[in-house]
Amino acid sequence: MSLDLFGLMWLGTGYLSLLFLCATAVDRGWLPQRLVRHPAVHTLALGVYASAWAIHGSLEFASRYGFGYLAYYLGVAGAFLLASVLLVPIQRLTRTHQLSSLADLFAFRFRSRWVGTLMTVVSLLAVLPLLALQIQTMGEAIHRLSGSASPSLLALGFSLLIALFAMLFGARHLDQHARHDGLLVAIALESVVKLVAMLALGGIALFSVFNGPADLQSWLDGAGHVHQTRMAQLDAGQWRTLLLLFFAAAFLMPHMFHVTFAEPLDRRTLLQSSWALPLFLLLMALPIPLIIWASQRLGVDEAGTGAAYLAFQLSSAGWVQGLAFIAGLAAASGTMIIISLALSGMVLNHMVLVAHPPIAQPDLYGWLRWLRRGLIAAVIVAGWLFYRLVGVYHDLSALGLASFVGIAQCLPGMLALLYWPGANRKGMVSGLSVGVVIWLAGLWVPLLTSYQGLVLLPPGFAALAGDPAWYSVALVSLAANILTFILVSLATPTSTGERAAAEACSVDAVVRPMRLPLAAANGAEFKQRLSPALGQDVASREVDRALEALAISPLEARPYALRRLRDRIQANLSGLMGPSVAQDIVDRCLPYQHDGPVASEDIHFVENRLEAYRSRLTGLARELDSLRRYHRRTLTRLPVGLCAFGEDGELLMWNDALASLSGISGDAVLGAHRDTLPSPWGELLGEILATPQERLYKKPVRLARGEHFLTLHRAGLQGEQGEDGGHVILVEDHSDMKWLEDELIHATRLASIGQLATGVAHEIGNPVTGISSLAQNLRHDSDDPATRETAEQIQSLTDRISQIVGSLVGFAHGGRHVTGGDLARTEMKTVIDEALHLIRLARSGDAIDYVTHCGAEHAVLGDAQRLQQVMINLLSNARDASEAGARVIIEAEAQAPHLHLSITDQGSGIDPAVRDHLFEPFTTTKPAGEGTGLGLPLVYSIIAEHNGHIDIESPPAGRASGTRIHLWLPLYRDCDESPHEPDPDR
């Protein structure tokens, strides 16, 4: 022996210390996060599958069955090749519901804590032989290399070191879904170590024992051929059964389930591992035949159990033997660490916490942490005891295959969980029980005794009588398991809860949660209600953690948000203490109100899920989803406000137009009850839902942007059977229309006054004419100068009355449309004077000084009345913009073929942002209620009808303030004389 006991102890302890150092370096942040979180780390951690079986078990198996040993690698490679259809759905389930073990998953799907307990017991029984295998390889390696008489005690020492590592770095976070970076990096390092060691051993075999591949091939064709022909061959059935067993182990073995699903591995990395893990396993498997052939050439071929340790015989050099020892230790320790972590979690959640629920535990987190650590140690010690009592008498193949056949009993349940919603608990438990009993009797119990296993071969299976026990037991137990499972599931009823869980687990189903109101109204009440079960501190921390994860406020009262909060708390508690206990606590403390309206599907949640799963939809489902998205987009982008309520008053839709009108985003209100919507929407929508009419017309509502007039339409959303399905409400903003209606009424009233004014003018005209005639007569008839002066004054005043009445009549007739036939020579001076005259009638116009520079020669081709309206509007604006005592200048200048008129005021000017829109209707610079916003558009329209144009200059060139309006109207030419009679009203 080249290595003494001390050297081996130093090597083993040194290697395990390296693991401690590596994990500590990661947890203390000494290594860069980029490296620690690299996808390759997680893929390498999946290499934990390559346990001591991959080193020693494969050598033993290959020495008996040749390439049959490849089944161990190809089985798991096949499972990872199907990552997208097999592993990703399991990962989605475990992630969504925070399920960290096979027992959690089965307990969730089959809605029973006892199912979880049963799965834990089965996993524990199945894994014990595998744990014993790991420890046996360590003990046997020590014994063979050092000749130690008590290898089992040394193996115990190594096992306790491994347990200490798992307790320190694997139970750091109580949430079993938290990422254990230190642990993962250490396991990845172990994968690298065993891979490098195996490749080195293969290299030694190929290049040291043989002189390269050509020498090896010639040896195989020559002297080595005899060795190969002596080897037994697996028949096709045995090979396929082995493939199936190792395929199942890839995701059912607790350590593989833990690394693949409990550690937060992202989906992309999992899919990447579909080729990366098989590549790793290919490299691990490649040296196995090389080592065997090299040892055969060296003449150290050992039959039976000795074949497992052929790597130690490759060379007498200490470093080569040390390399082989480290390869085995790395493989065994990684598997033991993860198995102990996975099993401790299962035992804690499904045995300890079920038997002793943590009701109001004073220090729940601390209690759980120490319980977990104790269980980790207990699992490793149980493995060592199994090795001491049983394992030592059996070869690696017997131990390993007993383990793999045992765990394969969970395969029917797992496949049904994913692909058969009709499966039920009774069927699964019956099938599993039958399969496990056959397995225990045929393979597991014989490990404990020296008796042959009891292999019960039913009629039709007699051909298996001469085959190895593992093969017969695997086939019979799995067949009985599947048959019983199917028959019992078909023959017995399935509970509602199980059916709902089955839909949640089924690969093709989207979870369809129901909308039920919760008894708790907000986050504070959640804490209060959870306190009796979890203690005040833990309840508060768990609720805060869930609120933070969902990014919702503690005061959030939307039923939708509260349901998500409840789900999140249940998922978090599930990660802490398993789904059974978590569900029990949440159901008890945070119950739904079942006395409300009948629950219906949570459409908003379903839509979110569909969006998330879109990439998984194909064919018809994808087409239907595209159609759904189109209709959804149509409703969302509808330029009219739209919202929809469920029959329980919960808001299900709030489109963009309504969000824009209300200033409230959909995310803030979706899922809220209509009574809790912000004012005035809660009251308004409540009114339309409560009223028997299906329409509310022009309801005045005060919103942030002022008063609006909203018209609401409501329609029922009856289901296919006529049942109530809630309501959809259209919200139209009729504010502009209402304003136009008011303006129309006002204009109509003004038109009436105009007509009245015409009549009054006619009636006043006669007496005024009489008064004027009488005054004229008086002036002629009287010689008294005072009387003549009085008569002249009376005549002057009656002229003024006539002029005022004439102006009023003229303005009243000014609203009609201009046609070419109405255009005539119009002196602008007269038009301006009359406009000023009318403006001065208003008291506010008195203080303005109007200066007119326009002569009688400035005549245009136009409609005098319409142009008078133009001047009134423009001069009124100039007056309104001017301070008292300011001056408004009106200038005219002939610029053939136009007359250029300008009106300049000394007001404050016009904001440039408004200036460009002044000719658009409803644009005004005046205070609310004073300006209509129609004056300038009317001016623009009249000027355009005259083939003129208008421009605004503000401030005018060379001035700091004020506004100048420029008008260009066609100059009158003699040839423009209209054949029509002049307007009789003029």
Partner: protein, 59 residues
């Protein structure tokens, strides 16, 4: 999703035909590394399908 079906077909096809791999151990006419070459080819195919799947999902 169509890529998934190809993978399913590949795995089950491989499962049925895989016993042929074992016959090579004692067969002097076959190179000892041929099973590993086939396996490596399968890995390369998976890698290619994985890239196809990414493109498929991106669409």
């Amino acid at each position: 999703m169509y890529v998934y079906r190809i993978m399913l077909f590949l795995v089950f096809g491989g499962y049925l035909l895989s016993p042929l791999l074992m016959s090579g151990w004692a067969n002097p006419e076959m190179a000892w590394y041929r099973p590993f070459l086939i396996w490596a080819g399968l890995i390369a195919l998976t890698l290619w399908l994985e890239k196809k799947r990414k493109l498929d999902e991106r669409r």
